[in-house]
Each structure stands twice: as structure tokens, then as C-alpha cells.
Symmetry: C2
């Protein structure tokens, strides 16, 4: 598992460092986590890692395509390790919970704009807004 991370880092010409391995492990175990949570998870293994290092690692991994950054309106940046399959997300308006949703049609990009305004479109990102099961069950939500 750990050596798999090593191989993945080398495959994109990134040096193998402890902070990077710890971030990859954190994202394998926790989906849609924000930066603060990643920092906490990494420090559980490596207490002396700086917050700046985690920001740098997340940026490097995102640019290399090893992790994906998502940023639904109203929340801070979140990261996930499921990449390359163009899936989408459902976000709870009440509590902010996020869940994965497979592509609506099955192709990537799975949508085509009716009029592209002259833009060259590379990707369609979909966010479904709604209420999660927990919040829907709660009688008066907060």
C-alpha cells in the first residue's frame, strides 16, 4: 500500500517524502477532507509537519493529478484521491456533507453545452445540491 504511493509519486516525477506519503494515506482513508483535517491526520503520524508543507503537498499532488481538489460554494477547499473517472458530488445544504455520484451519462466530459459562447470546453463539473439523509431525518434542522 505504502509502496504503491511511492510508485505513484515516482510515476509523476515527484520526490518521495514522508509528508507526501502521509497526505496520500490520509486521503486514501478519508474522502472529501478539508486542509485542516489533512493537517491533523498527517500530524497524527508526523507531528512536526508544518501547515505550509501540507498546502504545498496538496498543490503538488493536485497539479500532478494524483488528487482532486473540490470547492463547492460556501466551503473551503476539499481533497479526494478518487481521480480520473470524472465523477460528481452531492452536497448537503444543511450540514455540508459530501457524497460521490457517478457521472450522469457515463462519458467524460459527460455534458455538452448547448451554446459554448466561443469557449473551448474541456470539462463539465456538476454539483448536486440537496439534503443528506441525516438532515432530512432530523425534525427541525438546527
Amino acid at each position: 500500500m505504502a509502496s504503491d504511493f511511492e510508485a505513484r509519486l515516482r510515476a509523476v516525477s515527484l520526490r518521495v517524502t514522508r509528508p507526501r506519503l502521509a497526505v496520500l494515506a490520509a486521503l486514501r482513508d478519508h474522502a472529501h477532507v478539508d486542509t485542516d483535517t489533512v493537517i491533523a491526520l498527517v500530524r497524527a503520524q508526523l507531528p512536526r509537519v508544518s501547515h505550509q508543507a501540507v498546502y504545498d503537498v496538496l498543490r503538488a499532488l493536485t497539479e500532478a493529478g494524483l488528487v482532486r481538489r473540490i470547492e463547492p460554494a460556501g466551503t473551503t477547499a476539499r481533497y479526494e484521491s478518487r481521480v480520473g473517472d470524472n465523477h460528481h458530488h452531492v452536497v448537503c445544504r444543511s450540514c455540508g456533507a459530501i457524497a460521490d455520484v457517478d457521472c450522469a451519462v457515463g462519458h467524460a466530459p459527460c455534458l455538452t453545452a448547448s451554446d459554448d459562447q466561443g469557449f473551448v470546453i474541456e470539462e463539465a463539473e456538476v454539483v448536486y445540491w440537496g439534503t443528506c439523509p441525516d438532515c432530512a431525518a432530523r425534525p427541525i434542522d438546527q
Copy 2:
């Protein structure tokens, strides 16, 4: 025109104030503007308006459904006065330019998640990412 704004405010039980009328006028004339730009546009008419007033007004108008707040990843909040027709946006990855795109299918919400994970889905938001005509024409972009 201005009295139309007044009617719209009264229709949603909001008091008619100069800052609110100025914000509505600014959003009529400029699409997809960020808060700083709204502040500048409002102050061109009413120099003494505080930034806090503009933040308050934008929030009140958004909650009342008179304006729509959009927040593509990597940018600050932007506002538009085209509401109620569930249209989407194309965003330029290079310069951040935003253009409107009509709903891909024509219904609101125009997409259905393949597996909703138990969420009650209220709305599907689509952001198309690509390159705008200007940036596509530039040989080496920045």
C-alpha cells in the same frame, strides 16, 4: 427602470433603500461581478456607502431570490441578476472570464443523479471549464 427595482424589492418585503437600488442597477449593467466591483460601481453613485452595506445588501437580495450568487472554484463570490431560469456558466481557466450557458437539457433541475446516495436533490449546478476565445487566440498565454 429604477421604479421597477422598487417594485421588485417591495414584492419580497424588503425596504427600498438607496444602497439596494444602486446594487440592483450595478448588477443590471454588469454580469458576474465580484463584491469589490459592486462596491466600486455603487460608490460611483453613492460615495459614502460602506462595504459592509454592500455585503448585507447582496446577502439580502440573494436570500430573497432577486440576485444569484455564483462561486466557481478559485474565485471570490460573484453575483448576477439573471435568476429563475436555471442557466449555467462557462469559466475560462486562464483568465477567469465567465459566460452564461443555457441549461443543457432545458428542465430545472436539468440533470438527475444516477445514484443519489439517499440525498434529497433540489438542484443541479453545472460549471463548464475551458478556455475563452481571447485566451485561445493568444499564442502563449501569459
